[in-house]
């Protein structure tokens, strides 16, 4: 007869291993993908789920051992989900502004690469030079 705690231990282990794997794959993506824009996809997505899985594991573990519902981890998840897209967006925006080269097989050529970025206040091209 397998006890309740054994089953929960397996569940916690599953979440921890899954979280670790996703975080690892996300970091691997940083090294393996070809250009800056593609590399952005790794950390902005896989690490979110990686941290999320670890936090679910932590939630179950501390709820069981302390015999109280442990919900602090939910806050971490929420703040992470709110901030991760913003940082990814800002990174992408900076890359566009600097006109970083993209991989040859990228379809589509946004006009941001051609034109000078306009200053939102005056409507004149900003003086930031391309590197």
């Amino acid at each position: 007869m397998i006890g309740f705690y054994t089953v929960m231990e397996a569940v916690i282990a599953f979440f921890l291993v899954a979280g670790g794997t996703f975080a690892l794959i996300g970091s691997l993506g940083l090294a393996r993908l070809q250009d800056f824009y593609m590399r952005l996809h790794g950390p902005s997505k896989t690490t979110t789920l990686g941290v999320g899985c670890s936090l679910i594991g932590s939630m179950i573990y501390f709820s069981l051992t302390n015999h109280t519902l442990s919900l602090q981890e939910l806050l971490i998840t929420i703040f992470l989900f709110v901030t991760a897209p913003v940082s990814a967006h800002m990174l992408a925006k900076c890359a566009l502004h600097q006109k970083l080269p993209h991989h040859d097989r990228t379809q589509g050529h946004p006009e941001e690469f051609d034109e000078e970025l306009e200053d939102p206040d005056t409507g004149t091209p900003s003086s930031t030079p391309a590197p």
Binding site: F22, I25, G26, L28, G29, R32, L33, D35, Y37, M38, L40, H41, G42, S44, K45, T46, T48, L49, T68, S70, L71, Q72, L74, L75, F81, V82, A84, P85, V86, A88, H89, A92, K93, A95, L96, H102, H103, R105, T106, Q107, G108, H109, P110, E112, E118, P120
Partner: protein
């Protein structure tokens, strides 16, 4: 919905602050309710002058469904991106896609852009200055038009129903 009053200018923010406070303290003792309630009333009053008016939440239950859908999509997105990264033979077809926006409020556009970044193979890269189109970078796409249609059906329309209709 709770009406906003002079001593409770932003009711939703107050509720959120109270919940966050109780979660952080990990206790529902009377003192924590008191302290959390005090903060939940004082903080909104202090920051109210700097607060931009947010769009009115028309259908809260649709928002709940939207959250669940995004949550499921985040898991799917992760599996897809992981497969692309791990499989050495697979050569991704990245693309820049210009997505025409129908939403008008900046707040809803922000939610849409964040959703796009968290979900399958896309990172929102740049909001054009006119606020009418969003530049998206996708990791692996065959048909950009199908992607635009999918985002429209799956995310933008529900958001429009929730906030702007």
């Amino acid at each position: 919905m709770i009406r906003s009053r002079s001593w409770l200018p932003i009711p939703l923010l107050s509720v959120l602050l109270l919940i966050v406070w109780l979660l952080l303290q990990q206790s529902v003792a009377f003192g924590q309710w008191l302290l959390g309630g005090f903060l939940a009333i004082v903080i909104p009053i202090v920051i109210h002058p700097f607060w931009e008016p947010q769009p009115y939440l028309k259908r809260p239950f649709l928002l709940l469904r939207y959250y669940l859908r995004v949550l499921v999509d985040i898991v799917i997105a992760n599996l897809q991106v992981s497969r692309i990264i791990v499989d050495p033979r697979r050569r991704p077809n990245p693309a820049f896609v210009v997505y025409p926006l129908e939403l008008k409020e900046y707040f809803t556009i922000t939610i849409l852009a964040s959703t796009i970044t968290l979900t399958p193979g896309t990172v929102s890269a740049h909001l054009r200055l006119d606020g009418k189109s969003l530049l998206i970078h996708t990791l692996d796409v065959d048909d950009p038009d199908a992607l635009i249609k999918e985002i429209h059906e799956r995310y933008e329309r529900p958001l429009k129903e929730i906030f702007e209709c």
